[in-house]
Symmetry: C2
Subunit: 181 residues, 2 copies
């Protein structure tokens, strides 16, 4: 039995082995989890936009024990009230690039989501590219943002708006570089 969760839940209520609990978590995440890539405006950055990968799992407060179990399993992330939602919905959130790379992605590569596999693969690719610094060049950030919009186009800013601003920033910095001293 998984006694390391005994302060959260009676271990008899849990799957009896680690591997079983891992499969439970994949099933739960396939329903209530999300591998999301936010594109956020941030003026003080090179291109004016940042790419923000977040893994989160949502649950009503009355069943928050599941989020506690997931947090204990991954040994990273935090539980917060779901942003912009009623007070009785909680979210387990991992947004640290390092935790995503070292914990979350390897876990779901080993224990594959079924329904969210198509969401997980580009998420993993984008996080890996960010780790390699691909977003530091204009061509790189453009490709990553396009990939994020393929993953989900339901966003506050249109792709065109984002790419146009990146182009304008690039043009402006070119102009500055070329200007006579």
């Amino acid at each position: 039995m998984l006694y390391e969760y005994a302060d959260i839940i009676d271990p008899k209520q849990l799957p009896s082995r680690r591997k079983y609990l891992n499969n439970y978590i994949v099933g739960f995440v396939d329903g209530e989890g999300c591998f999301s890539i936010s594109i956020k405006k941030q003026d003080d950055t090179k291109f004016g936009w940042v790419i923000d990968p977040v893994f989160h799992v949502t649950q009503s407060k009355q069943r928050s024990v599941i989020l506690e179990i997931i947090k204990r399993t991954f040994k990273c992330g935090r539980i917060i009230p779901k942003p912009g939602q009623e007070a009785d919905v909680l979210q387990y959130v991992v947004d640290s690039r390092r935790s995503l790379t070292e914990v979350i992605i390897p876990f779901f590569e080993k224990n594959k989501p079924i329904g969210k596999w198509k969401e997980f693969v580009p998420f993993k690719e984008i996080v890996t590219s960010l780790q390699k610094g691909q977003h530091k060049s204009k061509a790189g950030i453009t490709e990553l943002i396009k990939k994020a919009y393929e993953l989900s186009s339901d966003r506050k800013h249109s792709l065109e708006e984002v790419l146009t601003e990146i182009q304008q920033r690039e043009d402006a910095s070119e102009t500055i570089r070329r200007a006579p001293q």
Copy 2:
């Protein structure tokens, strides 16, 4: 590998063993499933109301493969558009008393839901009582309906309305029995 699902999904996308898949299913059901007891008006029955236990799992059409996997696993039930919802939401539904008793309840006794355990236990008790015919007496059906309302009070008819009608039916049938021939 679980080759018996190969016509639904590439087995490499599935957990490698039956027990792992069972744990995946419990996790998924803890998020998207429901052990529900409907109380329905049905005038041609003894007390005018029937108790209708249903196990269902909801998912968007684009991820309906998970419902297919669950259906194949349980070898019972059906997949239908979610009643009263958009056309792109599906539901795996088991409402046959026999399938609930012989398949669904034993599965979740062995592979325990975590978040929905408190919902599953009264569900199991009510299904078991129905199998024993407890709903055939006035005291029996009253107790079962009260238990169902404890499980969820978010219902079309108030508990008082249902119990009052059952009492009136009982009174009417008493009057008929006592009337001189």
